[in-house]
């Protein structure tokens, strides 16, 4: 557990460092994830040491969003009279993005499956 936390924090720090150095608009933890991912591909043995505790941490992710969300109590005055625009924009945009993205993925998957199927058929026809 503590070894895993130390490794995760180390990669986060590495990510923060590169984020500041490069000036990219990408947060440290996301870069840290990329670095850990590359390390895991190069050294698969590391996976065995950190898998269990990492999974435990990911399963508890919900609780980590609560403090920031409670912060809504400090910003509701900023929105004076714009609540409707905020809520409607979020609702429409979230439904649209989820549906359009999912349908595009579905179409591409079906297309690839059909292609693979046709190829197989062509091969068996030749045989």
């Amino acid at each position: 557990m503590l070894l895993t936390l130390a490794i995760l924090c180390f990669f986060q720090a590495l990510g923060e460092w590169v984020s500041v150095l490069s000036g990219l608009p990408i947060p440290g933890p996301v870069l840290g994830m990329v670095f850990l991912f590359i390390t895991l591909l190069l050294k698969p043995g590391l996976n065995h040491h950190i898998a269990a505790a990492s999974e435990q941490l990911l399963k508890s992710m919900m609780v980590m969003f609560i403090p920031v969300c409670v912060g809504i109590m400090t910003s509701y005055t900023l929105l004076k009279g714009q609540w409707l625009a905020l809520v409607v924009a979020i609702v429409i945009s979230t439904v649209l993005a989820m549906a359009v993205g999912a349908l595009v993925m579905h179409k591409v998957m079906k297309h690839l499956e059909k292609q693979a199927h046709n190829q197989k058929k062509a091969v068996s026809d030749v045989e």
Binding site: T4, L8, C9, Q12, L24, P25, I26, P27, G28, P29, V30, G32, M33, L36, L40, N47, S54, E55, L57, L58, K59, S60, M61, M62, V63, M64, F65, I66, P67, V68, C69, V70, G71, I72, M73, S75, L78, L79, Q82, A85, L86, V87, A89, I90, V91, S93, T94, L96, A97, M98, A99, V100, G101, A102, L103, V104, M105, H106, V108, M109
Partner: protein, 239 residues
């Protein structure tokens, strides 16, 4: 007697940590009882319990965060930890790379364009439009990007949270209506539109969905950081 204990207690880290954990344990139990029904969302329920409690007892958000910040802090290492299931599922990700890339481009573009368009049509102020544009990205990216373009980080946070909570509550129904069953698509789109809250929801359902949600969140975060400046500039040129 109570006040002698209570007032100093609310200023210690223990208060925010204990309050968050107690409320979370309660709502997590409720979520489990409901067999993880999407409408019984632990984050939304916790906020609905904690905010009135703080207002009623007169504890400020700053005092609450003295302790609660340590719980928030764990988001950093947890984000890094997403690399672990991703590395394990690499083969499946590699197999589905083309649908994933197409879904990413479509979902990301629609998320940014539609929120800017709808907010502008409803007469939102420019500050709100800029703050909402990156609403599907993970919190630190959304806050950083909107602030750089003249938005407000706190407004961006409200947009991101609202999107995440609404996204995980409705995803199941959206996928049902458009008849999408593949766990790859469900997970990926959940993380793409509802960022970290979608990922947390994904791991609530299965490791597989959580992994693809983590991938969707990361890729959309990166793409959004580059898309939002373009879309916001376009918006000001056109309107």
């Amino acid at each position: 007697m109570l006040n002698e204990f209570w007032l100093p207690f609310t200023k210690t880290p223990l208060f925010g940590i204990l309050l968050t954990l107690l409320v979370y344990v309660l709502v997590a139990w409720l979520a489990q009882k409901s067999r993880f029904h999407p409408l019984v969302n632990p984050v939304a329920l916790s906020v609905l319990l904690i905010v009135p409690f703080l207002v009623y007892t007169g504890v400020s958000y700053e005092d609450y965060m003295v302790g609660a910040q340590y719980i928030s802090f764990l988001l950093g290492p947890a984000t890094v930890a997403l690399a672990v299931p991703l590395a394990r599922q690499l083969e499946r990700v590699r197999k589905a790379w083309l649908p994933l890339v197409c879904g990413l481009l479509a979902g990301s573009l629609v998320a940014v364009l539609s929120v800017v368009l709808v907010a502008a049509l409803l007469g939102a102020e420019d500050v709100l439009i800029i703050s909402l544009a990156p609403k599907s990205a993970t919190m630190p990216i959304a806050m950083g990007v909107s602030e750089k373009l003249g938005g407000l980080a706190s407004l961006a946070a409200v947009g991101v949270m609202g999107t995440g909570i609404f996204g995980v509550m409705t995803a199941r129904y959206i996928f049902k209506v458009i008849r999408i069953e593949s766990p790859e698509i469900r997970g990926f789109m959940l993380g793409l539109t509802a960022h970290g809250i979608g990922v947390a929801r994904g791991f609530q359902i299965s490791n597989e969905i959580g992994t693809f949600a983590g991938l969707g969140m990361s890729l959309n975060g990166l793409l959004t950081a580059f898309l939002v400046p373009l879309v916001v500039t376009l918006h000001f040129v056109l309107f």
